[in-house]
Symmetry: C2
Subunit: 317 residues, 2 copies
Amino acid sequence: MKPPPLIGDIEGAHARIRPHIHRTPLMTSRSLDRETGASLVFKCENLQKTGSFKARGATNAVLALPADTTAVATHSSGNHAAAVAHAAALRGLPAHVVMPETAPAAKKAAVETYGGTITCCPPTLAAREEAAARVVAETGAALIPPFDDPQVVAGQGTAAIELIADAPHPLDMILVPVGGGGLLAGTLLAASAHAPRAAVIGVEPEAADDAARGFRSRTLQPQVVPVATIADGVTTAMSPMTFEVMCWLARDIVTVSETAIIAAMRRIWERLKIIVEPSCALPLAAILERKVDVAGLRVGIILTGGNVDLDRLPWSR
Amino acid sequence: MKPPPLIGDIEGAHARIRPHIHRTPLMTSRSLDRETGASLVFKCENLQKTGSFKARGATNAVLALPADTTAVATHSSGNHAAAVAHAAALRGLPAHVVMPETAPAAKKAAVETYGGTITCCPPTLAAREEAAARVVAETGAALIPPFDDPQVVAGQGTAAIELIADAPHPLDMILVPVGGGGLLAGTLLAASAHAPRAAVIGVEPEAADDAARGFRSRTLQPQVVPVATIADGVTTAMSPMTFEVMCWLARDIVTVSETAIIAAMRRIWERLKIIVEPSCALPLAAILERKVDVAGLRVGIILTGGNVDLDRLPWSR
């Protein structure tokens, strides 16, 4: 198991990436507060560079690489791919991104926009890892994993640092989506130092509940494949490191239905007037579905990204 | 003709409404700047209370009413209706809103959310005005017109005051949509005092080009009905007052195609990750369609509102 970052690593990450990322705004909604009986504060990482919080971890990891690094590489079908390409461009490094042939054209275009080079591979994890290993061997590139990396987790934790610092009041609870667990681990570590009274709860789809099963059984669980959830950002299983941090520090892990995810996503669009991808909706879905009790609480929610296919909205399928 | 407000009226409006409205954020997009060759600054009135800039004018007009006012009234099928209901609630006054039977359910629901009372009428301007006059006669309510009113125009001008004050650099140009002309007139008056070097240009759909025809002919023009544009926020004709301000102060009025409006609306959703209604897209449509030359310019754009039917997006029709 790789060692998790310390709070000093997260604060160091914040100092390092601050010139290169947006300090994204917080949003509130009186009508959502009325509906939920809580005071909700949304951290808008959908407005982050590259359209997701992944820019934080990728930028931190890339900037922390040794001075003699000649290239970076990663494998991802989602937001991490664009984030690594963007971060590499900040240092003038070439980025090699292994993507499954089935990745949406928009995701590929984002990588290319930032100057990344795409290597296509069959759409299996084994094929992706093999292709990434080959790219690393051929180019000498440094691999930037999507979540199983202390510098990546430290970078993701900076979103919670800002949420806690910018919230108009101390937070009683922080809700974040759980996929590979990079954001959850970073948030847990940041909150344990900067908002120790806040209960941090992870939310995942019922259809991708490896974290919840692992949290209950205290044993790292595989994801059941194929994963049938609209929340395409949270379909990966956790790593030993993110799993360990979750088990030590999370208050709970809850799951939500697909119907609740779609309804919550739409509610955010309508009330906050911002574009969020389905994974963003997990925390509000947990509130609306009463999987967490937020009555009277001040709750921070990290909205993870805004990269969504406008031609295929879930409520018009 | 009613007298237009003076710059002191706009500044006074700003002081009056500031505690009750959001100082909406400005947004920028490196990729839109690259695409247009300009530095674009978007003033996000889609994130305003009630979801549009109309909250500014309505709040100013309602708060400026005499202390012995017992009720307010208006007729509108759009954002002004919710804005008046919201403003009336701030003063604890009942709001009577005349709406056409054909108004979308979402618009009616918004009025009711803020405690307004809806009176339905047939969907013609004559029927609306008649119903409004009847409501005023029966209730003694003060009528808050959607744009032909100095206090309403003064309130709308506060968006430009903030845009100019918060922009990271002096603006060379300000682009706003034109419907009844309340926002255009307020922007023109505000900019003439606070950003006299900025060229203010109004944009309207080709299919609702009364302002452009009036600007060229120097004669107030009627709207040609029925108006066939997706930009439902700008289908009304101007008033003598807003027309006069336009003729004196606007640099130009340009028109854009429906195709360009839809493309620009989608571009804003994709790049800024925010929900804007079709009328918002007029200025960017004018840039993309090369109806205005923005090369090398610093351009302020007022995004007017975010109230859109998510079940009927223009690109999925």
